[in-house]
């Protein structure tokens, strides 16, 4: 079993599906000879040729529109947005078309496709290269929105995304692309697209997060454990549809919940989770919910970005505040 980092697991998943299904193809800017600016598609051009690993002209509207057309006509395109900040010109085709072909034609035409989006801050990148914009997609019916946080989940979720009969927005936390390696069997086993993962058990407080912040949450849990606090850490992994059952069950047990995400707080996807708790877990909560998030500003250029992203300290402080309020 190879030990791979998150981004290598993605490459492995794409190669697996391209081998299994000749309709799967990859398109985007620099995905070909260059293997992607993050190297996610490295080697694919050599293995599968330039008709299956396609460099497009430099236009995101084009990439999205071609992807929709290819998909509706029976291909299984995996489109790459080079960075999170360049995805906006794709929204029109995604929202007005990809997400709607099935319902618009009552199932006559469908749009199975994956849009891969390297996501989030913390890599000292230039302007527009560090956006946490998942909330642009989580209110859109017909889409699935996925974000893995480990090599193993990256492999299994990307396989599932490619095989899914509907469009999947696949966010990739670029800050942890190469954080660590893990043994991942290239066995073609997909993971479900509607399941949250409990990464750590605990009885006192639930930390709910996704993407790169899983790292900070696990570290915060570790710190809190040192102080005798049992923290359950949940990686949401599939934001739409949301597996709220797992979160509900955890909060039923712990009675306390802190939600952590990189995106700005107001209108972020954390709100949906807090809202579900307000609807369904009110009688289980021993203390108010808290959100530890990016501030309600654009993420600053990289000199200040670490002051923007939720830190282990901020998470620990929120957890302690929550514990104090319920004791």
């Amino acid at each position: 079993m190879p030990a791979v980092c998150l981004i290598e697991a993605l490459t492995m998943a794409m190669a697996h599906e391209m081998t299994r299904d000749e309709n799967v193809l990859v398109l985007g800017e620099d995905v070909g000879v260059n293997g992607g600016v993050f190297r996610a598609t490295v080697g694919l051009r050599q293995r599968f040729g330039d008709e299956r690993v396609i460099d497009t002209p430099l236009d995101e509207t084009t990439i999205a529109g071609l992807t929709v057309g290819l998909s509706v006509q029976g291909m299984r395109p995996i489109a790459e947005a080079q960075f999170d900040g360049f995805v906006y010109p794709m929204l029109d085709q995604i929202i007005c078309h990809a997400a709607r072909f099935r319902t618009r034609t009552r199932g006559r035409l469908t749009c199975p496709m994956v849009l891969r989006i390297p996501w989030g801050g913390g890599i000292r990148a230039p302007e527009h290269h560090s956006e946490a914009n998942e909330a642009m997609f989580t209110n859109v019916p017909g889409l699935r929105v996925v974000m893995p946080s480990s090599p193993h989940r990256a492999y299994g979720l990307l396989l599932a995304a490619i095989r899914d009969p509907d469009p999947v927005i696949f966010f990739e936390p670029k800050r942890i692309y190469r954080q660590y390696k893990e043994e991942v069997a290239d066995d073609g086993e997909a993971l479900p697209l509607d399941v949250c993962y409990v990464l750590r058990d605990g009885g006192d407080l639930t930390l709910v997060t996704w993407g790169a912040q899983v790292k900070e949450c696990l570290e915060a849990a570790e710190k809190l454990a040192d102080e005798g606090v049992g923290v359950e850490v949940i990686d949401v992994a599939t934001l739409r549809p949301l597996d709220f059952d797992t979160i509900r069950d955890s909060v039923k047990k712990t009675g306390r919940c802190v939600i952590v995400h990189e995106a700005p707080r107001s209108g972020g996807f954390g709100a949906e989770i807090a809202a579900r708790l307000a609807e369904e877990s009110m009688y289980d909560l021993l203390a108010p919910v808290e959100r530890v998030t990016g501030w309600d500003t654009h993420i600053p250029l990289f000199r200040m970005e670490m002051q923007y992203l939720p830190s282990v300290d901020r998470i620990v402080a929120a957890a302690k505040r929550t514990l104090a309020r319920s004791s």
Binding site: P57, D59, T62, D92, Q93, R104, R144, D164, D245
Partner: protein, 362 residues
């Protein structure tokens, strides 16, 4: 090496094609082979007549509250039918919302078109080539769907062609430019048809662009470009046939600008008298596509007054049948709202469906 100073890097010219005059008389130049089959022209004429019959009925249905907003195709019959006529059945067509004649030619049923404009998704689960795209409201976005389709054909090495329509307004839309750029970059079997009917709702052609022709926009992507008299079925059909063949043979994409006129309001929700001159409309009626073709067919002995009247009656009857069939379609079950968002509705959605089916009480 190039010599220093000024030199010419590239040069182009855009052809204009017209074969059948507004008076129904052909010019001196010989017609392209494909347009010489008078029986075929007659068939297409009959479809144009039927289209007009359907169209006026649809407008009437809207006026009496039996249809939603509807976009009439009055005056566009040659432009729409002439293009679709050049396609193979397994080519793929991507329309905007006005190309009734083209959809009918491809086998979409009138009742299905009515169902769509009647606010029912089932209208887009239509008859005819199953890969054809449904009506597309966001302007020119269908051009990119057609480009993606053409790319699929090219990758799968299928000898098929994708054809997309948009309007003069649509030719300003970035999606149109993106499609022609992609067509050139990948040398796609794509035909982009700009139906220039002079108006985009209230905005005249002159306000859309500084380009002398809309056809020349194709030069931006290195495509073939041609402008045709869009009221001349012969010119439209010939140009489309040429472009489709060229695409099928691997020689790449074409932009066809079909110059015509929107004789109706933009849609039934519009009142064109607010912004355009009645005189302009009147003048445009002199050039409309049906009459000239009828004259031509009559001159050739293939058609006459009696046949015209009989066929018109037949059209009206068929349209009525279709309207009745449309009006008979019961509303979809409530549950339909939830069935088609995903292949497998997620749990959340199943719960919402249950709520609704339990009486919409939540």
């Amino acid at each position: 090496m190039r010599t220093l100073g000024m030199s010419v890097a590239a040069s182009f010219s855009i052809e204009y094609l017209s074969y059948l005059g507004a008076d129904g008389k052909p010019g001196d130049e010989p017609w392209p082979e494909v347009a010489k089959d008078a029986k075929r022209l007659l068939e297409l004429y009959k479809l144009m007549l039927f289209t007009r019959s359907f169209d006026s009925k649809a407008v009437a249905l809207q006026r009496t509250g039996k249809l939603g907003t509807y976009a009439s195709c009055l005056g566009h019959e040659a432009a729409h039918v002439g293009i679709a006529a050049a396609m193979h059945v397994d080519d793929v067509m991507a329309v905007s919302y006005r190309e009734i004649g083209a959809m009918l030619l491809r086998g979409v049923l009138p009742r299905e078109i009515l169902l769509y404009w009647g606010g029912d998704e089932r209208g887009s689960k239509f008859s005819g080539p199953q890969q054809d795209f449904p009506i597309c409201v966001p302007i020119a976005t269908q051009c990119l769907h057609a480009a993606g389709t053409a790319l699929a054909f090219k990758l799968r090495k299928e000898p098929r062609v994708a054809v997309a329509f948009c309007g003069d307004g649509g030719s300003s839309k970035t999606d149109f430019y993106a499609a022609l750029n992609a067509a050139g970059a990948f040398q796609l079997p794509l035909v982009l048809v700009v139906v220039n009917n002079q108006w985009a709702i209230s905005v005249p052609r002159s306000a859309q662009t500084g380009a002398q022709t809309l056809a020349q926009k194709g030069l931006a992507g290195g495509l073939d470009c041609v402008q045709v008299d869009g009221n001349d079925l012969v010119a439209v059909f010939s140009a489309a046939d040429h472009a489709v063949r060229r695409a099928r043979n691997g020689h790449g994409g074409t932009v066809i600008e079909a110059v015509t006129y929107r004789l109706s309001d933009h849609t039934t929700a519009d009142d064109a008298r607010r912004y355009r001159d009645e005189a302009e409309v009147k003048a445009a009626w002199e050039r409309e596509p049906l009459l000239r073709l009828r004259h031509y067919l009559q001159a050739g002995g293939l058609w006459d007054e009696g046949k015209e009247n009989a066929y018109k009656d037949a059209c009206a009857k068929r349209v009525d049948e279709e309207v009745n069939a449309y009006l008979d379609v019961a509303p979809p079950p409530l549950s339909d709202m939830f069935e088609y968002t995903y292949a497998e509705p997620p749990l959340d959605l199943l719960a919402q469906r249950a709520e609704v089916l339990a009486g919409g009480k939540r």
